[in-house]
Amino acid sequence: MTQRPVNGARRLTRLALLTAIALTIFMVEAQIPVAVPIPGVKLGLANIVTVYTVFALGAGDALLVLLCRVFLGAVFSGQMMTLLYSLGGGLLCWLAMVGLKQMLTVRQIWLCSPLAAICHNLGQLLVAAGVMKTWAVLAYLPYLVIAGAGAGLFTGLCAQFLMQRLDRLGLGRKEENHGTKGH
């Protein structure tokens, strides 16, 4: 399942576009106050793009988009502290997704995403535990597991619908990925 990179400029443009979309979603979502008073709980809509990229373009490209989005997101929101948390969560989530991708096909994104989201929240908590130098923050783990499963299911379904629509338009992974699993 290794992707042959399409020619340079095209790949760059596509990844830049995905990063811009993810960043926009991230910044808009950051403006919406969260109703639940638990640190780390949010929908994480920007991860729709991450999920899509992992499945449509491959693990490496997804990592690039993720890292750029996390870094720029921290710069734009003016909270460099969040960089650490986002990185810890993002990397663990990415690892989980790349692992799960070996076992699941495009049809099971809805399942891959909540599992990855739980890993994301676990990663964030581990970073928080490191920064605060206390394991007390792990008391939030059950909340974050449940929240992650819910949010992940939502973003996963979004990514799945997105994928189907883009396939129908002929813009999705098909043009690069002849003969992968799935459809």
Binding site: M81, M132, W135, A139, L141
Partner: protein, 126 residues
């Protein structure tokens, strides 16, 4: 649905149910409120015995780059009433009076945890 899908879906459901179980168990068996430990970056700033508090009072914790958290203390409970951070999660969390959840302010790295006084490894932290 193939076999792997079923296994992974099972794992997901099990993890979620387990978490819900832990939360329910914690709600049913709250640790009696005793000592609020306020720490910043892992260093304990203050320990307040909430059972000994007679009069409500408040104080301010200062952090790096002008970060401020106003802590309010009342008999048996404690909260962060004002914070300089953008997300205000610690403020919205409101009063806590038992050990089920600490108040955490991630941007300012402040944490308030209520413990029973004795050995203090949280059951959830294991």
């Amino acid at each position: 649905m193939n076999k792997q899908t079923k296994i992974l879906a099972g794992v997901l459901i099990a993890v979620v149910l387990l978490s819900a179980g832990v939360l329910a168990w914690r709600k049913l068996n709250p640790e009696p409120a005793r000592i609020a430990k306020i720490s910043q970056k892992g260093q304990v700033l203050q320990e307040i015995d909430l059972t000994q508090v007679k009069e409500p009072y408040s104080f301010v914790i200062e952090g790096e780059d002008g970060a401020l958290n106003t802590v309010q203390v009342e008999p048996g409970r404690i909260c962060i009433s004002e914070a300089s951070c953008p997300d205000q999660i610690c403020v919205h969390q409101g009063w806590i009076s038992d050990g089920s959840e600490p108040i955490v302010c991630l941007p300012n790295q402040v944490i308030i945890q209520i413990t029973g006084g004795g050995s203090q490894v949280d059951a959830a932290a294991g």
